[in-house]
Symmetry: C2
DNA sequence: AGATGATGTATTTTCGAAAATCAATGATAA
DNA sequence: TTATCATTGATTTTCGAAAATACATCATCT
């Protein structure tokens, strides 16, 4: 029996597949902030019909990665300083809450996960020799932050954190300024790891807030973002 | 020029309209937790085609009011004790954060809004003579809680709070036990109002957490909810 | 000139039918 | 009997065309 397995990143339905691809393209910045998303173009680019496209965009609109104006169509969500400020605020609250809760509830296995993740992160530097961000470092960086909150044991908290991370990743990737800053901040990550393993919630709280704030500071001073309507 | 205005609650597109109606029916409990949502039936009930229905359900799925199993269809989101526990936790955090932030940022006009809302709430009792919940009291109750956080000035915080409130309202309305308890808790609301107007964030924090927890306690002891798969 | 209204085009929104998938039933073989 | 496999029916998923709406252009009137 021949089972046509999809070896690429496709999910089962076309809608789920095109949702994943659209989300990646938005978060990676290939679809620019504010860009119109016409169905004729999308149909060609992604090779699917209207129905899965509309559904995927509706789902992305619910997550605020795209916006819908009725009878005028979908656009990639615009970026702005005020939105980034709001995002930072919310992320500071949600991340610190998730970490605090993980510290309260995490077991030895969770601690081991954190230690393993910080170790793996330290083995790799953020920039490749030619000055670009190393994708493998990106993976380990995300894995480290995920490990910090892995024991928080709240589906809703995890969902909101995940959505906020998507938004933050988009700003980060749009900011060439950030990418080239080569801000490895291994020291910050180590301090965070230490505080968490020591179950010191208050220190971890301070560290994660500063960590997130510093990233936003760098993005805020990026002139390249003006092109994308950052100041409108 | 004859302008066919929709006088009912319809929004502009069919998808937005059927989204509103589906959401109401789920939150009000008319569509029972776990119930299958077949397109043939929905097409008849709501009088629209497949496209707007699928989009509306996709949007509701993103908010976790319905769940989608690929190739198996949509269902109303099930309820459970563990989900209600998670919902309570998240609501305590989000509501108390929103109130704290409103206390920090609210001006005189915001204070006036709180005072006006608690006054209106006090003029009405929660139960009608025949033992049902008074819809107008419901409106004023929601308006009061909204007024507390009206100055928090964070789109994301407001969005998450709104979603959590939808989920909480559903549990509350599903619980006949709660409805008949006639728990007016005007005293709790007054205390909350006083603390907020006095800009006492710590007291307000304690009060809102207890307020939310007490509601959940009542729902948890409701035997009627077993029918809806509360304990699976 | 400026405002108003009409016309045509581009685009979204919606519908109904076709394709794909799942679930249940029954048939066949070990 | 039990397990495996085909067949049927129910349902979801997807496509392409039709209807509805917005936008730009141009003509008309004051």
């Amino acid at each position: 029996m021949t089972m046509t397995r999809r070896l690429d990143g496709d999910s089962k339905t076309l809608m789920a597949s095109v949702y994943d691809r659209l989300r990646s393209d938005i978060v990676d910045g290939e679809l620019r902030p504010g860009a119109r998303l016409r169905f004729d173009e999308l149909k060609d680019s992604y090779g699917v019909g209207l129905s899965p496209l509309r559904e995927a965009l509706t789902r992305l609109a619910a997550e605020k990665l795209v916006v819908l104006e009725e009878h005028k169509g979908f656009r990639v969500a615009p970026i702005s300083r005020s939105d980034l400020t709001d995002l930072l605020f919310m992320r500071q609250e949600i991340e610190s809450l998730a970490i605090r809760r993980s510290i309260e509830r995490g077991d030895d296995q969770w601690e081991s996960g954190v230690v393993a993740a910080i170790h793996a992160l330290g083995k790799r530097s953020s920039l490749t020799p030619d000055g670009h961000i190393d994708p493998e470092w990106e993976n380990r960086h995300r894995a480290f932050h995920d490990s910090l909150v892995a024991a928080c044991d709240s589906p809703r908290l995890m969902l909101y954190r995940c959505q906020l991370t998507d938004h933050a990743d988009r700003y980060r990737k749009l900011s060439h300024h950030y990418s080239s800053s080569g801000r490895d901040h291994l020291a910050e990550h180590c301090a965070l790891s230490d505080a968490v393993v020591a179950r010191d919630a208050e220190t971890a709280n301070q560290l994660i807030r500063n960590h997130l704030a510093r990233t936003v500071e760098i993005i805020m001073t990026d002139e390249d973002l003006r092109d994308s309507g950052f100041d409108d």
